[in-house]
Amino acid sequence: MSSASTGTAVRGFGRHLAEKLAAAVVSFFVTLVIGFVIFSLMPADPVRTLTRGRPTSEAQLAQLRLQLGLDDPLWQRFLTFVGDTLRGELGYSWQFQQQVSTLVAERLGPTLLLMGTSAAVSVALGLWLGMRSGWRQGSVFDRITSGASLTLWSVPTFWLGMILLVAFSIPGLLPAGGMSDPSLPTTDVLDVARHLVLPCLTMVLVIFAQYVTVMRSSIIDERGAAYLLTARAKGLTDADVRRRHAAPNALLPSVTMIFMHLGTLVSGAITVEAVYSWPGLGYLTYQALKIPDLPLLQGTFIIFSASVIIMNLLADLAYRFLDPRVRAQ
């Protein structure tokens, strides 16, 4: 039974993966189309906006319109866009006069650094706190943790960011913005870490509450599970019961939610990036929207949608990986 079912499991998994991938690809393209349509609807005069404040001749305006393809009909622009995307090109930014892919690649690193660190810290912190406070529901620890995380969750990010910035940009210790000290000859890991502290702290403070909540409630759900009684009856200490039995199970429902949340994190970073002058994708999007720089918008849009879609896919896979019950199906 075992070996046979493993065989079907693998086949079933392959098929499941293929299905999920196909759905993801479809999702991706649909979001692209939605994005294109919405962005194209935006009333905008990019040429005038770009050249605002600069001497510009009529010929120059016409030339710019031509260069940006603004005179092409919508459908043609759509086809170009789809074609470009399929080829893996993201077009040419209007305002930065560069390949969108270059721009996105430049800004992706810092965003991933900030988001990755914040996510890692807040997931770790959130899960740990959530686990402990759920395990002893109603304890002082639980009340403090839940209260603090709820309060922090209720704070507008940009506001918290500003307040932290003013309060903690300490001379020589925590800088007020940027990703590295420009007067250093080379990029220094410690220096970047220093710059990362405040923006990361801001993100963490705001988002870790979500993980606390999820983990806490799944631990509370698990707490009454019969297998925990078994574990206790075996003579395990309370901490071991929690760590070795409750935690892995409570993690299951949290995982999906965490991944889904991670997917939206990238696009949620605009305000933090703005407050801390972090050279990331969020702020680039914001700039793109102001013009609006359609190719650039599309480019960042693709990244954002893709990150959500990929994270959802990963959530699914992670769930399957973590839960043997689903794994075999």
Binding site: P43, A44, P55, L61, Y92, P171, A176, G177, R194
Partner: protein, 577 residues
């Protein structure tokens, strides 16, 4: 130890380091310091020598001859010759990609040649009085080394110009640039207009001005060019900081739709017909209490708005005579409107007798501009008092421009800054800038179109004598002032703050009676800035000490965490399972 001047990068940062393509302030700023130009601007905004030491207009009025210095070298050691300048200008003139950013500046050029390494000859199509403003730092054309750029002409559109150090010439050499982060420069100690006082210059990008101020206070920055009035007022009180005001090089105002139309006279858009009437525009001008705006919106850190060209350029600045001036007088405004037959309806809003429409106007504001938001609420209140209703529509810059181009607007918040050459700003009030019938081609400021004004515009273009040109420009501004299509509300001063412990000499020129410095044109601030004393002024709490504190703190955290863990362990091992 080397000294570094750390300043906030201006405006919206750098779009591209390719000077043929860039539009953003931050980029133009950089080009102004790393590429030479034919002329520089003196501290009063007048053309001065740079690469060129002399410039003369030939008798045919079409030939300009620039005498260039000998012996200047690009940062890679190759000589700077007239050929570089000629090549740069010709490329912009002939290549549409190269003309992306600055094409308009050379559109009247017939041909640019370099008969010898120190002579540059510019032939214009029509007489042009402002050729010495064409290549100036920041707002004009930077000259680039031909030997570096020639190989990239084919792929100019994709050339990022990021081989550091960037070959150029100027007070500084660009040694590194990270998009959205910083630009780093080394001083050119042999710079022809004087050696920079610092060894390095760093421009760092800050998106929130409060973050920049925090950085200044904590010593991460030495200088911020452009803080807002509230910040300025607060920082002025700080004795360790130097807060200075400079005469503004721009204005804030409103524009009223005088009847949008195309070049052929076809009306377009949805502008309110009443605004076509001079009397309505005049009444609006009288109803606005500009002094209150100056005190309330910009904390008094600016000047009352009058003429179309800002006071930073005294050579062009114009003020109405007292009898011409629109002084806040709502009673008179009401009289004017009553007399013209705009009677008030039941709701207190006047009605246009011709169209039967109430005098209810849309007021488009820039949604990302806090001053716009503040001003617009005042305007609503004041105009209500003369029976005119305003509905505020916050718009993105782009949407606003789009409405403007389509003529779908009544009143818009408006603002311009300008370099020392007023040609362009004056030009966008001419009939020639109205859109074509297909809607393209227009870059009109506000659909203003007046034959007399156009004639004056043509005249000043060709008037070589600066004084005479100034009179014509003044007359043009009077015409605009009377038309009340553009109503200039105020000229905000430029507000700068610098640390006094790390930098001195950041502002140049002598302040006027009000304590206002002349506008800091071109690269002078950074060039003349120097460490305050001979002793090296390291960053306060520089990285050395900082690291120690940092490490100490880290250690503390580790001890704390470790301690709690140990304690916890001991406790859990104890009683309750």
């Amino acid at each position: 130890q080397d000294t570094t001047l750390r300043v906030k990068m201006s405006g919206s940062g750098v779009d591209t380091l390719n000077p043929f393509l860039a539009f953003f302030n931050g980029a133009l700023d950089i080009f102004g310091t790393i590429y030479p130009s034919l002329n520089s601007l003196d501290e009063n905004g007048k053309p001065g020598p740079y690469l060129a030491t002399e410039w003369t207009q030939g008798p045919d009025q079409l030939t300009w001859t620039f005498k260039l210095r000998e012996g200047l070298k690009w940062s890679d050691g190759r000589p700077i010759t007239a050929e570089d300048a000629a090549w740069t200008l010709e490329l912009i003139r002939t290549d549409s990609v190269a003309g992306t950013a600055n094409g308009s500046l050379v559109s009247n050029f017939e041909r640019v040649t370099a008969p010898d390494p120190t002579t540059l000859v510019i032939k214009t199509k029509k007489p042009q009085a402002n050729v010495m403003y064409v290549s100036i730092p920041i707002s004009g054309i930077p000259i680039v080394p031909k030997h570096v750029w020639e190989p990239h002409v084919k792929e100019l559109k994709d050339y990022k110009n990021d081989a550091f150090p960037v070959v150029g010439y100027g007070p500084w050499t660009l040694t590194d640039h990270r998009p959205e982060q910083y630009a780093r420069f080394d001083a050119n100690k042999g710079f022809v207009l004087g050696a920079p006082g610092f060894d390095h210059l760093v421009q760092q990008s800050f998106k929130e001005s409060d973050a920049a101020v925090a950085a200044l206070r904590s010593g991460q920055l030495d200088y911020i060019n452009g803080v807002n009035p509230t910040q300025f007022t607060a920082l002025k009180a700080d004795s360790s900081l130097l807060a200075v005001q400079e005469v503004g090089n721009g204005w804030t105002g409103i524009e009223l739709n005088p009847g949008a139309r195309t070049r052929s006279g076809k009306p377009i858009g949805t502008g309110h017909p009443a605004l076509r009437e001079q009397v309505v525009r005049d009444a609006i001008a009288l109803a606005i209490d500009k002094p209150t705006l100056v005190t309330k919106v910009i904390n008094g850190l600016g000047q009352l708005g009058h003429g179309y060209l800002p006071p930073a350029w005294p050579q062009w600045s114009w003020k109405p005579a007292p009898e011409e001036e629109h002084v806040f007088d709502p009673a008179k405004a009401n009289q004017l409107l009553d007399a013209a037959g705009y009677t008030k309806g039941a709701d207190g809003v006047r009605v246009d007798p011709k169209s039967g429409k109430p005098l209810a106007f849309r007021l488009g504001t820039h949604s990302d501009d806090s001053a716009d938001a503040a001003i617009s609420t005042y305007l609503v209140g004041w105009l209500e008092a003369i029976g005119v209703k305003l509905t505020i529509q916050p718009l993105s810059m782009s949407a606003l421009n789009s409405d403007l181009a389509k003529g779908d607007w009544d009143i818009l918040m408006d603002g311009w800054t300008t370099g020392p050459d007023p040609t362009y700003l004056l030009g966008i009030q001419t009939c020639a800038t109205l859109p074509k019938d297909d809607g393209t081609g227009g870059n009109t400021e506000a659909y203003y179109c007046d034959k007399d004004y156009d004639a004056l515009f043509e005249r000043q273009l060709t008037t070589a004598d600066p004084a005479e040109r100034a009179t014509i420009v003044a007359e043009m501004q009077r015409t605009l002032y009377k038309a009340n299509v553009d109503q200039i509300l105020y000229y905000a001063n430029t507000l700068d703050v610098a640390r006094t412990d790390t930098v001195k000499g950041i502002v140049t020129g002598t302040p006027n009676a009000d304590g206002l410095h002349p506008a800091q044109t071109a690269f002078w601030s950074y060039l003349k800035a120097a460490p305050p004393t001979a002793t090296k002024a390291g960053a306060p709490g520089g990285s050395g000490g900082g690291t120690a504190v940092w490490l100490g703190l880290g250690a503390l955290v580790i001890v704390a965490v470790g301690g709690t863990l140990v304690l916890r362990r001991r406790k859990t091992a104890g009683d309750r399972e």
